[in-house]
Symmetry: C2
Subunit: 243 residues, 2 copies
Amino acid sequence: MSYRFFLEAKPSAELITLEGDQAHHAVQVMRFKIGDAIVLFDGSGVEYHAVIDQIAKKRLELRILDTVSLERSLDTKMTLAVAMPKGDRQKFLIEKLVELGVECLVPLKTTRSVANVNEKVLQRLKKQVVEACKQCGRNRLMEITEEKSLSQFSEDLGSGCQKFVADPYRGMPVSQWLNRSCSSTESRQIAVAIGPEGGFDELENELAHALGIQPLHLGPAILRVETAALAVAAIFGIGNEIE
Amino acid sequence: MSYRFFLEAKPSAELITLEGDQAHHAVQVMRFKIGDAIVLFDGSGVEYHAVIDQIAKKRLELRILDTVSLERSLDTKMTLAVAMPKGDRQKFLIEKLVELGVECLVPLKTTRSVANVNEKVLQRLKKQVVEACKQCGRNRLMEITEEKSLSQFSEDLGSGCQKFVADPYRGMPVSQWLNRSCSSTESRQIAVAIGPEGGFDELENELAHALGIQPLHLGPAILRVETAALAVAAIFGIGNEIE
């Protein structure tokens, strides 16, 4: 895959100038030369195939040769609401959910949540989304919303969306759901809530039930938060592509 | 889930003594008391339910009350051969493959491999397996073999095992394989080889083909090594349980 640059906005002309960290990295670290091909993306689902026209110390001038509509997205539109872990586990989670094609991540407020996703954290997570998209070729950014409660999360979903909550002790096995969906014309929009370490409390479980969110069972082991999230993403995403 | 201790060997009596790091952690950090219940496992697929009988500063005496055969393993027996990543990504990979129920991990020697798994590294990885098993409740350890080449890996598999190689550009989509296996009585033993960053080289791809290893496609994005491995584990494992 070609080297990929992220543009904050749609390019307005065929000739564009890149400055700042990305340009510096391209010139000083990657040692690109005039005439080298690179790919630009702006997160909207298209990529721009460009060549380098001019190079200065911290600036690149590029000529866009072609615009290609190419999302690299999956057939199932996935929203995951996750009681976010901290530190490296949080960073890893973001990277993996981007790679695995999750459309929208909702940081979930729960009684036992350990990480608070304020505006500053949100900005950091969004930068990590861009980095992961550069790496994996995804051309539409994963959205990250502000923190939501379980009921806010549920209310904000469209009516065609199937709602699940990961449950270590009960619920329909995820394999059963997949087998049903193989041969059906059911909605390809799913949303899954994943609770914190120690699980949702009793009241939250009752609320999920009242909101019509179905419990989903993810096998016999007790999965960490980020493991449950990425397993759900892999199974409903790559594991559920229309052939 | 109760606090879990790992035993290096099968307990030979009803009363056993724990010393060393685990006992120290239990007494000084977890502050267990006489009469507290804990779970012991020795990696063989059973767990022992015990209570604390005596506590010293760095020693615990435990009485085993019950022995339960409980593997928390999956219906599909998975062997993954992975061109190992380095550093945190390697550590994360081990933890996730244990949680996701992989039975055996083969560090894969390839032309573009970046990490060398020598005896010292292998011992470190095996400790990480134990830690992950403590956390997720798994009672049979994930095996890690010595490094193997693609052909050694293939030769050492049983004849009933289906062999795949993850391929970013071609092959049968993993979803198609799952749909076929839903309704079939095909083998529940699979083995998947996952190449390094930059992929297998041309010769390795030809070798895989000659060895009868089928290419398997994991969606439109270019996945990192550890992402491909954990996606395969989630889809073939939890995503493929017999209902």
